[in-house]
């Protein structure tokens, strides 16, 4: 238990269904669930559309308030309202984060923003940190004065990654962040993420449909179905020996696509 970084206890979320009169009905987007993640480890979350993956991600970064349960980081409970504390330690990268960068800011300004909001570093320290972070994601210090439109899609992804790691978080959530990338870019990005995990001890939560990436990238995996956890365990165990028929179907559909050739 000593290595546990993130501890999720009985977390759940229900939304009021707006289509029903007087809001009497609720949708259980996520039934109560618990899990732990250690530093250096990746937890993959798979499940079909609407199974609650993004809801879980939003609860973890604090973009939504949970209906029940709580989250502990290094043994400390994260207060639901304390965004500053949470922003620093748990960061998220979205699917098309490359296109969500503010086009009117330079790369330096884009990276400076989270530092000004979340740290007490002075200008020189911030400048140094931005330099180092750009190097970590394979960009150059000279890129600081560039605007987002001057970069290729892959470089923009690197900038969003730089933005995610600059506060030296402990957990990064990737919600389908790799899905729409070109394959050669995607493998570059995976290599980079794995390097950073090794260097910084990051824990990743990887939401992905691609079981190839899940197999390669993750240590443990969780299968969600209609807001419930079907399976949770070592990735290799679940992929080799799925217990639930729904998991089997998921694995078969992708294996069939590849092995049939």
């Amino acid at each position: 238990m000593s290595n546990v970084l993130l501890q999720v206890v009985n977390l759940s979320k229900s939304y009021k269904d707006k289509n029903y009169w007087l809001n009497r009905r609720c949708i259980n987007a996520l039934e109560p669930l618990s899990f732990n993640i250690e530093a250096h480890k990746t937890l993959a979350i798979v499940g079909e559309t609407g199974s609650g993956k993004s809801t879980l991600a939003k609860l973890l970064v604090g973009a939504e308030l949970p209906s029940t349960g709580h989250i502990r980081l290094n043994g400390q409970t994260l207060e639901p309202g304390n965004f500053k504390q949470r922003c620093q330690h748990i960061r998220m990268i979205f699917q098309d984060s490359g296109t969500t960068l503010n086009p009117s800011l330079t790369i330096e300004q884009l990276l400076d923003e989270p530092l000004q909001l979340n740290t007490d570093l002075d200008e020189l320290e911030r400048y140094q940190l931005i330099r180092e972070t750009l190097q970590k994601v394979g960009l150059l210090a000279e890129h600081m004065n560039f605007y987002p439109h001057m970069f290729s899609g892959g470089q923009k992804q690197r900038i969003s990654l730089a933005r995610a790691i600059i506060l030296q978080p402990q957990v990064i959530i990737l919600d389908e962040a790799l899905a729409s990338l070109d394959p050669s870019l995607r493998s570059q990005m995976i290599n980079l993420l794995l390097d950073l995990q090794q260097q910084m001890g990051l824990a990743f939560i990887l939401i992905s449909h691609n079981l190839g990436i899940v197999r390669h990238f993750s240590d443990e995996m969780m299968v969600l179905y209609k807001g419930k956890v079907l399976e949770l365990g070592k990735t290799t165990d679940i992929l080799q020996n799925p217990q639930h028929k729904h998991t089997k179907k998921l694995i078969m559909s992708q294996r069939f696509q590849l092995l049939n050739r």
């Binding site: 290729s152 470089q155 070109d182 050669s184 290599n191 390669h216 694995i251």
Partner: protein
């Protein structure tokens, strides 16, 4: 018979100084009833090529082609208007973002009825109106939408992405095309919905013998659904062959890299090891390398590669590289 046979198609972007060769001497051949994948990372010129085929590029672009045969007919002998008429009759196209292609202010039913081919209708106008409605329902049925009553009354924003794409396919089917060009039809969708659309296209191919040019940036994604594949990179022809040849024994270093870069659910590379990948990224039009455009990223590049390679043909497997990997398979 060949459905389409295109040789040395080039597309130039006119600029104030000198024109840029965005698509550089590409070949594309399809047989009747074939599903061909057109694969290459974003910016390879796949969409430009498709737009050139159906003749919808604006005057910014200049297209040259040595040969353009459609079902045995030499289209280059026809006037541009005649060519356009042949193509609009037989070829339909669907795009990446179905929602954006539909009119947000009209119901699905209205838009479908609009798309119905007038030649299929007969009788007086009130009879035609009824026939249109029926034809629209039929189209929805063909693309596997069971709740057509609800669907025709909906506006585009009320439907999911995958449903909208089905509607787009239904509209494309209205003219009974012989070739359907699907330009990344599932790129904006979650992959559980992607399967639906691919299965629908496959069934249309089998039941109606409709040929399909399936464009994708992800080789792995389309291998299950195609008979043959053409690979492009940065506007140049890379390789073409059967899906098996391309996926199992690629001759071109770029195709090899595409195949090797994706971790597969079944493969045996160690967990968390480094994946094979090409360094750098695809060049922009303003900075195209001379000769083989893969040169700066290619692990096999040598001096000779500053000259564009000629296409070599091994039976049905064509490759454009000075140093193909053909001999590395024994």
């Amino acid at each position: 018979m060949n459905l389409i046979d295109i040789r040395n198609l080039s597309i130039e972007l006119k600029t104030a100084t000198k024109p840029i060769l965005a698509v550089d001497h590409v070949n594309l051949k399809m047989r009747e009833g074939e599903v061909r994948g057109l694969v290459g990372e974003s910016g390879s010129g796949k969409s430009l090529l498709a737009q050139a085929i159906i003749g919808v590029l604006d005057e910014k672009w200049q297209v040259h082609v040595d040969r353009f045969h459609w079902r045995g007919q030499d289209l280059m002998r026809l006037s541009p208007e005649e060519r356009k008429a042949v193509i609009t009759k037989d070829v339909a196209m669907i795009f990446q973002e179905p929602m954006a292609c539909l009119d947000p202010t009209a119901t699905i039913g209205e838009q479908l009825e609009e798309a119905v081919d007038v030649a299929q209708l007969s009788g007086f106008f009130w009879q035609k109106r009824q026939q249109r409605k029926l034809a629209a329902m039929n189209l929805l049925h063909k693309v596997g939408i069971k709740k057509h009553q609800a669907c025709v009354k909906s506006f585009p924003h009320q439907l999911t992405d995958a449903l909208c794409q089905r509607v787009m396919i239904a509209m494309a089917l209205a003219r009974r095309p012989i070739l359907l060009i699907a330009d990344e039809p599932t790129a904006a969708m979650e992959s559980t919905n992607q399967g639906q659309i691919f299965r629908l296209l496959a069934s249309l191919n089998q039941l109606k013998n409709m040929s399909i040019l399936l464009i994708s940036h992800d080789l792995e994604n389309v291998t299950h659904w195609t008979n043959t594949i053409t690979v492009m990179y940065s506007g140049q022809f890379v390789e073409a062959g059967t899906t098996e040849q391309i996926f199992n024994q690629p001759y071109h270093p770029y195709t090899r890299a595409l195949v090797d870069s994706s971790p597969k659910a079944s493969s045996m590379i160690p967990n968390k090891s480094r994946l094979m990948t090409l360094p750098g990224s695809i060049p922009i039009l303003q900075h195209l390398p001379i000769g083989c455009r893969l040169g700066p990223r290619c692990p096999r590049a040598q001096q000779k590669c500053v000259h564009a390679p000629k296409i070599k043909s091994y039976h049905d497997h064509q490759v454009s590289c000075h140093f193909p990997l053909k001999d590395s398979y024994s």
